[in-house]
């Protein structure tokens, strides 16, 4: 462990803002890249279900 206290850890030797901002952006980017396709899939499946129902009705 490189830090004596939690507040030291947050401060990152005065560079806390830059370090935490970087990690926060990274977290956002990673989450977007997982959540976006997951939501996309939900939408695709519901679209397909709707289309299938329409086709079954018409035939």
């Amino acid at each position: 462990m490189n830090f004596d206290s939690f507040s030291d850890f947050i401060a990152m030797g005065g560079h806390g803002f830059y370090v935490w901002l970087s990690y926060a952006i990274a977290l956002v980017v990673v989450v977007i890249n997982i959540v976006n396709p997951a939501l996309q899939k939900k939408k695709i499946v519901s679209d397909l279900v709707r289309r299938l129902r329409r086709e079954n009705k018409s035939s």
């Binding site: 462990m1 490189n2 830090f3 850890f9 990152m12 030797g13 005065g14 560079h15 806390g16 830059y18 370090v19 901002l21 970087s22 990690y23 952006i25 990274a26 980017v29 990673v30 977007i32 890249n33 997982i34 976006n36 396709p37 997951a38 996309q40 899939k41 695709i44 499946v45 397909l48 279900v49 289309r51 299938l52």
Partner: protein, 252 residues
């Protein structure tokens, strides 16, 4: 007709089948997701808590654990996109087209992440948010290349045509990347000699580069997860008329 195709290994043709690819990716996904999660968490904790501070930059260098993996990923993702596109062009392999298309947004966000972390790191290091450093400039141009490919995908409505056009563009970009990189490196040395380089620190100690290695592996696993999720979506959309997709949807 089928005799002449036998020289290709069997898995190649199985890969060419969207259904088989969809199922195999479904099986691989959980494993990669767990691996990505573990590696990223372990790497982050190691990087932030246990890696020693750097002699000149203190703790701000910890951004490297995001910056380097994302930059690496942005580059290899472009290569993968171009190669997958080429396979789609040459062998008319639909799944390769879909992989190529799925690469574009991931690569673009990785390039953005690399640029953002580079800029944030630049502030404490150089005293300004943006410096026309060779690596950052090349990354910016790589982002432009990604944006061009994405714009082309969205401009062409016919999916097969869009995939082929984007593959040609990605390949042209792939040939150009070394030229661009060389020209920017050279231009940079001309304009600002001997500045403080971001990532080129000689002789990192193992306590520093081991967590970096863990992070890089974690990022690649995460890339695999996101890529497979997107490719599976793409398969569903483009194979929506196939009976197996209809059966699959009906079960849900």
């Amino acid at each position: 007709m089928s005799e002449k195709k036998n020289w290709m290994p069997r898995w190649f043709y199985q890969l060419a089948s969207p259904r088989w690819s969809y199922e195999i990716m479904g099986k691989l996904l959980p494993g990669f997701a767990v691996a990505a999660f573990l590696f990223l968490i372990a790497g982050t904790v190691w990087a932030l808590l246990f890696a020693p501070p750097e002699a000149y930059q203190g703790n701000s260098y910890r951004i490297i654990y995001i910056h380097v993996p994302s930059a690496l990923l942005a580059q290899s993702c472009y290569m993968m996109m171009a190669i997958a596109g080429a396979i789609g062009l040459i062998w008319k392999m639909k799944v390769a087209d879909m992989v190529a298309k799925s690469c574009a947004p991931i690569g673009a966000t990785m390039a953005v992440l690399a640029l953002a972390t580079g800029a944030i790191w630049g502030k404490p290091t150089w005293g300004s948010w943006w410096v026309w450093d060779a690596r950052l400039t090349s990354m910016l141009i790589l982002l432009f290349l990604y944006l061009g490919v994405i714009a082309l995908y969205s401009a062409i409505e016919n999916e097969a045509m869009a995939a082929k056009s984007a593959a040609v563009l990605a390949l042209v970009g792939l040939v150009n990347i070394p030229i661009i990189k060389y020209s920017v490196d050279w231009w940079n040395t001309l304009h600002q000699p001997a500045t403080f380089k971001l990532t080129e620190r000689p002789a990192m100690v193992p306590e520093m580069w081991l967590p970096l290695l863990v992070m890089v592996i974690g990022f690649y696993c995460f890339f695999a997860v996101s890529l497979m999720m997107r490719t599976r979506n793409e398969i569903l959309v483009r194979e929506r008329r196939a009976s197996w997709v209809k059966e699959l949807v009906e079960k849900q």
